[in-house]
């Protein structure tokens, strides 16, 4: 049966910038590796509350985050590339989160999903950490209380852009080291 080309839409990933001709294609290592990394991110769901339930929906069949190469959730921080912090982080939880971040291997990225993780949200109280960026560096913030699964996916795609375009040497740069230093992370 022939496929109806009008209804079937496949996303064709554009090749990285480079020079091509018959039988060859030349591009830089950075870009080729970035492309590969972009579609094989292993996220670590650090789900504490309501946003974690929306993350369950995101991973579920309806929204299906697996389409973006994030099929394999890594519950061990040592194998994870992306820390997805979903939900309120109380002050009691802060040191735990920091430890999880420290256990992750470079390169590592962080999404703060939801208002609580980004800024404390509606919980401007004595027991809640006012945004996880007080203890670990954050790459992408996803607003919403909780964000819809589409928003979480959008945040994930922003991370993919970062992964794709980031220089392979960024993690060795003095700026990055200074950033970690400012958070007291070795």
């Amino acid at each position: 049966m022939a496929l109806d080309t009008n209804t079937v839409q496949a996303k064709i990933v554009a090749p990285p910038l480079g020079v091509g001709g018959p039988g060859y294609y030349a591009t830089s290592f950075d870009k080729a590796i970035g492309l590969a990394k972009q579609y094989s991110i292993w996220p670590l769901p650090f789900a504490t509350s309501c946003c974690g339930i929306e993350f369950m929906a995101t991973m579920g069949p309806h929204y299906d985050l697996s389409r973006f190469g994030a099929e394999r959730l890594s519950f061990s921080p040592r194998q994870a590339d992306l820390l997805m912090v979903m939900g309120t982080i109380a002050k009691k939880m802060g040191p735990v989160l920091k430890q999880v971040y420290e256990q992750m291997a470079e390169p590592r990225w962080v999404i703060a999903v939801g208002a609580c993780a980004s800024s404390g949200g509606i919980f401007d109280t004595y027991s809640v950490l006012q945004g996880i960026d007080q203890i670990i560096p954050v790459d992408v913030y996803v607003p919403g209380c909780p964000p819809r699964p589409e928003q979480i996916i959008d945040g994930f795609m922003r991370i993919q852009d970062l992964v794709h375009n980031e220089s392979q040497r960024r993690r060795n740069s003095p700026e990055y080291k200074a950033l970690l230093e400012s958070y007291g992370i070795r």
């Binding site: 509350s49 929906a57 069949p61 109280t125």
Partner: protein, 401 residues
């Protein structure tokens, strides 16, 4: 490994020494942030200790600083798997304090919403029991039905998870045509889907062997303040919907499923059966849905619809008065409870006549029954304890307030 003399080993212990194992607070098996430190002898749990509070957000302190209608979003975040029940429970508490009578139609609409919430809650809990026993398929399969419920809520209030649904005095709007259509579709399709899920697990030998563990007795459950499905699994037919009916639950015919042994399988089956009962209630509520207004005629307390605020003088005045806090609530104290997804969710509200509560205490079912967990799993296998934990349906937001 450590040699510990203060721990008594069972007669069949091989090792004669125990290992301290830390589960949580970010362990994937805990489905929430709480920590259990257990002493295991081989694979058997000798003793345990729970630490909670990793997501303490100070709901009760916030509630003392916010007017009543701003507390509703907080209740969303208690048991976020079934937030509408919490919302409605809070509205009913305030209505009880103010003495507002909600019209029949609004009560029926509330019942529909609450029973949908119960189904959504039990879908999550039961499918997660499946995941913890190794059956991921059921989980991914039944989650589509939860999406359908979320779609109905979206039609009714515009939000998926933290719904903030209804208002003090009724609903903020009536159900629209699409909501009714989606409800009918849900009632038509969901039973088939849930039946398939049941076929997968209910009489599955492996599943039954894994889950017919960690039993509880009614005496134990009552001593520790169990409520909801966990209490009913032990055989006690306590259900707030029947004992002290609210929101016209007395109009509906339904059964309270109870278990016999109070083990993980019973907890699973009670929730399963409750889903069927909830479907029955929704069907009856839809069939008997009376016509009439969807909110009480209490302009001092019911926030008027936005369209009226812009076009109607009186609505504007009342809107201003409510939002700026010029209308005080009566003095008094009131306790109201609803049957939440996990059990009796109570609100103890003390009003000193101001805009906000002088004191608001949430009776959170999770918090109260989770203290029995380490006692329950003593002598059980570690793997059974994990399944028992998910069958108790501990929701971290509710646990830690």
């Amino acid at each position: 490994m450590s040699k510990q003399d203060h721990i008594k080993h069972s007669a069949d212990s091989l090792e004669k020494e125990t290992i301290t194992l830390n589960i949580g607070p970010t362990h994937p098996a805990t489905h929430g942030v709480f920590q259990n430190i257990v002493e295991i002898d081989g694979e058997r749990i000798v003793s345990g200790d729970s630490t909670i509070g990793y997501i303490h957000r100070a709901f009760e302190k916030i509630a003392e600083h916010r007017p009543f209608y701003q507390v509703t979003p907080l209740t969303d975040r208690l048991n976020y798997c079934s937030s509408p029940i919490n919302n409605m429970g809070w509205h009913m508490t305030v209505e009880k304090l103010l003495g507002v009578q909600v019209p029949k139609r609004a009560q029926y609409l509330r019942v529909i919403i609450m029973e949908l919430a119960r189904i959504a809650d039990h879908i999550v809990c039961n499918s997660v029991i499946g995941v913890d026993t190794g059956a991921l398929t059921g989980f991914t399969y039944v989650f589509q039905w939860r999406e359908k419920i979320y779609e109905i809520w979206e039609e009714v209030c515009g939000a998926r998870l933290t719904t903030n649904i209804g208002r003090v005095g009724g609903m903020e709007r009536d159900f629209n045509e699409i909501a009714f259509k989606k409800l009918e579709e849900f009632l038509r399709d969901f039973p088939k889907g849930w039946k398939e899920f049941e076929n997968l697990l209910v009489r599955n030998r492996i599943f039954m062997d894994r889950t017919q563990t960690v039993p509880t007795t009614p005496e134990f459950a009552l001593q520790y303040g169990f409520t909801g499905p966990n209490l009913r699994a032990t055989g006690v037919d306590y259900d707030v919907r029947v004992m002290s009916p609210y929101s016209s639950y007395e109009d509906f015919e339904f059964n309270i499923p109870v278990g016999t042994k109070g083990d993980t399988y019973d907890r699973f089956m009670v929730r399963n059966q409750e889903i069927w009962e909830s479907l029955k209630i929704i069907r009856q509520a839809l069939d008997k849905l009376p016509a009439g207004p969807y909110h009480a005629d209490a302009p001092q307390f019911y926030l008027p619809p936005k369209a009226e605020v812009y076009n109607n003088m009186e609505a504007l005045i009342y809107h201003f008065k409510i939002v700026m806090g010029e209308i005080d609530a009566p003095k008094g104290e009131v306790y109201h409870s609803v049957e939440g997804g996990n059990g009796e969710l109570g609100f103890y509200l003390i009003s000193d006549g101001g805009r906000a509560a002088y004191r608001l205490h949430f009776r959170r079912p999770c918090f109260i029954y989770y203290q029995a967990f380490t006692e329950m799993v003593k002598g059980c296998l570690l793997s059974d304890a994990i399944v028992a934990m998910s069958s108790m349906n501990i929701i971290a937001g509710e646990l830690d307030a």
